[in-house]
Amino acid sequence: MPVIAVDAMGGDFAPDEVVKGVARASLGTTIECVLVGDEHRIQKILESVSYNPEHISIRHAAEVVEMNEPPKEALRAKRDASIAMGAKLVADGHAQALVSAGNTGACILACARHFRAIKGIRKTALASVYPRQTEYPGQDQLALILDVGATIRCDALDLVQFAVMGSAYARRVSKVERPRVGLLNMGAEPFKGGDVLAEAYQRLTTLPGVDFVGNIEGNDVAKGRADVIVCEGLLGNVVLKLIEGIADVVTDVASNAVKRRVVWRLGMTLLSRGIREIAHLADYTKYGGAPLLGFEHLFLKAHGRSTARAIENAVKVAAKAVRDGVAQEIAAGIQALR
């Protein structure tokens, strides 16, 4: 069973929810977790919930990188920060993957300092799953979008590498045999979006081993046309936050409408089952987290507001990715590119 290092101090509800999530994972699985953080606080929380100590060990880390701290300065000043120690544990071979719900910048920086990039990888990418419409029965309800924030700007080759990494992840973790890859752009035509995107389009069209379906426009993101959507980090992050924002607005509008008119309340009651299903589909706690792809070791970034359930699922997804050899699959794909 893989050993997963978990940054116990990272996240808005840390360490309580993180420790509880690991405790839940210890009861339902045989995954071994190393909780990195303040030993006394972690132990106190553990003892207040059901857990299996056989699957949990604790590494004391005296310092924490707070959510609002500048990553570079914080990591320089706090050498014993939980995220840094977690990354080091993985790099030293004491664990096979790292999970954190903490400061994203600090997480990526800590991984970049301690993990080795897969040979040939130019830039790492943060990938995120999101719910989408399905086109045929049995199609996965989740699609993958990368990069969503590890990079700002990319060139064509970076985007091609993202396509290879996303395909490998979808094949291994989501079990999509031949993932369809789309390039996020402002039009379907191959020449749209400027030189970088046009070149990336050309390279992807001729790339063996990747099922490229062409450009994907904004209105197609939530449809089932592509299983993997490739874009640069700035754009990916905007798209992801937009999806989250729309979901929040719809919820607010619906709850206000219910308060205003009896007829609307009745309508909402009739629709409640469908709304519950949508809410269930959009529930981020089910999906675990966003993998940082391109390193020899896996890092899974859980949502900052992660609850115990989200952390439990993040641990499970990380263990699955390790077991299924995502990094090895990516390395093989990148090797084929060269």
């Binding site: 006394h40 003892e47 919930v49 059901s50 100590p53 056989e54 699957h55 004391h60 880390a61």
Partner: protein
């Protein structure tokens, strides 16, 4: 011991690795008492009984000895209790007490024989008398039954014998055993005991019997430890109010570690229990290491004892090794770093007297049941 003398003192003996862990010296366990009584509950403590549904519960009386499954490590531990006592020429008595009906006794005795368990007595609850008298409420009552039987057994025990009690978190074992320990220690007034038992709604006939028995006991603080097998994975925090005497354990390796510290089993017994978990129950050495660390973090093992045990068990090949000869400069560096950031040592669990009325309130509010269960 500091500087070079400290380093030299830790020079590996033949076949040993370096250990720079603080306080890594063999710690002598407590001296063993002359006579020890071990009292074991059966279901969920010795046997992995399944009462989760009525159907499974109904199946229990019809199970044959070979169908019954023991808790991982328990057989190795009980065998070691007897063997080590024999080797050290001490008296050790193993008794079983169960609130199950005597009709299943035959299968249980056969199971114990199959497992090679030497025991000195076994008691079952006679449910028939309640059925005949139509007192169905008391069919499931076990506080009164177990407490009365324990007191009777104490009267018959050799004078000066110390006791270790073993139960689980499914039933009322924590409160029954704690009451028993305090009654025989003379810490609980007879009237206070009666009030508690009334509160626990025990059979009035049993109440009279317990009162009479408690008057006959010569006070002695005989119960050293109460082990509660966390079969249900109840949060250990819930047992804090029972004091340091009660040790919630997640597996019998943890139980063996505490018994070793108590001086009633040698290190070889701990190794035996660990080996049985590795070989029979698919445990890994990492799981055993994590179990030891958990016990130390919960302050049921003294820090120096935990360090010493870890080193000895690593040497015995039971735990994964943490150090190598070639890596000592790195260990020195790590030790210096650890000193800089070492967490505070957790204060030991308080040993204040148990406030039973408050404890019963808290215990019942937390959803744990008292009184009316079967075992």
């Amino acid at each position: 011991m500091t500087g070079w003398s400290g380093l030299l003192a830790r020079w590996p003996r033949s076949g040993r690795r370096w250990s720079l862990a603080p306080g890594a010296r063999t710690v002598a366990p407590r001296p063993a008492p002359a006579a020890v009584v071990y009292r074991w509950d059966l279901d969920k403590t010795y046997l992995k009984s399944d009462f989760e549904s009525l159907r499974k519960m109904m199946r229990v009386p019809f199970e044959r000895a070979e169908d019954k499954i023991d808790e991982p490590g328990v057989v190795a531990l009980i065998r070691a209790l007897k063997t080590s006592a024999r080797q050290e020429q001490r008296a050790a008595f193993v008794y079983f007490i169960s609130a199950s009906p005597p009709q299943i006794g035959r299968a249980i005795r056969e199971k114990l024989a199959l497992d090679g368990i030497e025991y000195d007595g076994i008691v079952f609850k006679d449910q028939l008398q309640h059925l005949v008298r139509g007192r169905f409420r008391f069919l499931r009552e076990q506080v009164g039954f177990k407490l009365a039987e324990l007191l009777k057994a104490r009267i018959a025990a050799p004078p000066g014998a110390v006791e270790f009690l073993f139960g689980d978190d499914w039933e009322s074992d924590p409160i029954i055993y704690s009451l028993y320990a305090d009654v025989i220690a003379g810490r609980l007034e007879h009237d206070a005991l009666a009030d508690i038992l009334v509160r626990l709604r025990i059979d009035p006939a049993r109440l009279v019997e317990i009162k009479a028995l408690s008057h006959r006991i010569a006070p002695a603080d005989a119960v050293r430890r109460i082990f509660i097998n966390l079969e249900r994975r109840t949060p250990p925090d819930r047992f804090r109010s029972f004091g340091a005497r009660l040790v919630p354990t997640f597996n019998y390796f943890q139980t063996a570690l505490v018994l070793h510290e108590e001086g009633v089993v040698p290190l070889t017994a701990v190794v035996e229990v660990g080996r049985s978990l590795l070989e029979r129950s698919a445990y890994s050495r990492e799981r055993l290491r994590n179990s030891l660390d958990d016990l130390a973090r919960r302050a049921y093992l003294a820090p120096n004892v935990a360090v010493s045990l870890r080193r000895d068990l690593e040497d015995a090949g039971l735990l994964p090794s943490t150090g190598t000869l070639g890596a000592w400069p790195r260990q020195l560096w790590r030790r210096w770093r650890r000193r800089r950031t070492r967490p505070l040592v957790r204060p030991p669990i308080t040993t204040a007297a148990i406030e039973y009325p408050r404890l019963i309130d808290v215990w019942e509010a937390s959803g744990s049941r008292l009184g009316g269960e079967t075992s």
